[in-house]
Symmetry: C2
């Protein structure tokens, strides 16, 4: 097992909220696609999983069922997402993006790309790659940790 330096905890607890905060602001300030981070994640997930159920979304983005329901409420009210009762099991609802949902998602992705590109541009190429690689490493690591 690796020897984690003492500085680790405080660094992580400083950097992660910092990045989170900047991302949040960036998504909020985005004209035409003002989204919260969970809203963005819902749209992104739905775009790859057309017709999935609410509980599926909730589990994927790590929210309780009530929270996810309210979250989707907001997106439906903004006409970004369509709720449709499933035909073979009418307890289920099938969620999908509207046309406007698609374009809003596109716009948000684009804006975030632009933002990250701008920020990461300050790095030499190898460090930039290292950061992105670290993200790839972290994803399964933290996704799999038990609640």
């Amino acid at each position: 097992m690796s020897n984690i330096p003492e500085i680790c905890a405080t660094t992580v607890l400083e950097v992660v909220p910092l990045v989170m905060r900047n991302i949040r602001r960036e998504m909020r300030n985005n004209r035409g696609s003002d989204l919260s981070v969970p809203q963005f994640r819902s749209l992104a997930y739905l775009s790859n999983n057309e017709g999935t159920s609410l509980s599926d979304v909730a589990e994927h983005i790590g929210l309780s069922l009530p929270s996810a329901s309210k979250l989707i409420d907001g997106l439906v009210n903004r006409k970004l997402v369509l709720r449709k009762p499933s035909e073979d099991d009418r307890r289920r609802i099938m969620l999908s993006l509207t046309q406007e949902g698609q374009t809003t998602l596109q716009s948000a992705v684009q804006a975030t790309e632009t933002y990250l590109t701008r920020v990461l541009a300050a790095l030499p190429e190898n460090e930039c790659a290292e950061v992105l690689h670290a993200m790839q490493i972290l994803r399964p690591l933290f996704a799999s940790v038990a609640p």
Copy 2:
């Protein structure tokens, strides 16, 4: 400037909230030092900047003055932080950790170290180092971006 791959935005927007969420839960579940992330950050900052002012803390952890005031309220009520009006300018307050604040911070740092060590233990040593290095890279990058 580096060429940021298209996958970047969605990855970052998935990984960062994920890590954030896990950290938050870890700090909350910590018996004896149940702290929110901003609470932790305040304590950590105060431990290195004894006697600093409220506005200083607010700026450092990226909160509005009222939010920071309420945050410190909570810590004062729990007797982790001491509020003392400055003598040369009585509008200012000087903030400092109590003895209990010190030990609570210590305990929280320790618990987070343990948690991160446990999670990162799944990685080969070089990847672990890479992740930690990426954190170091990101800190100044996101700290300096204008609000």
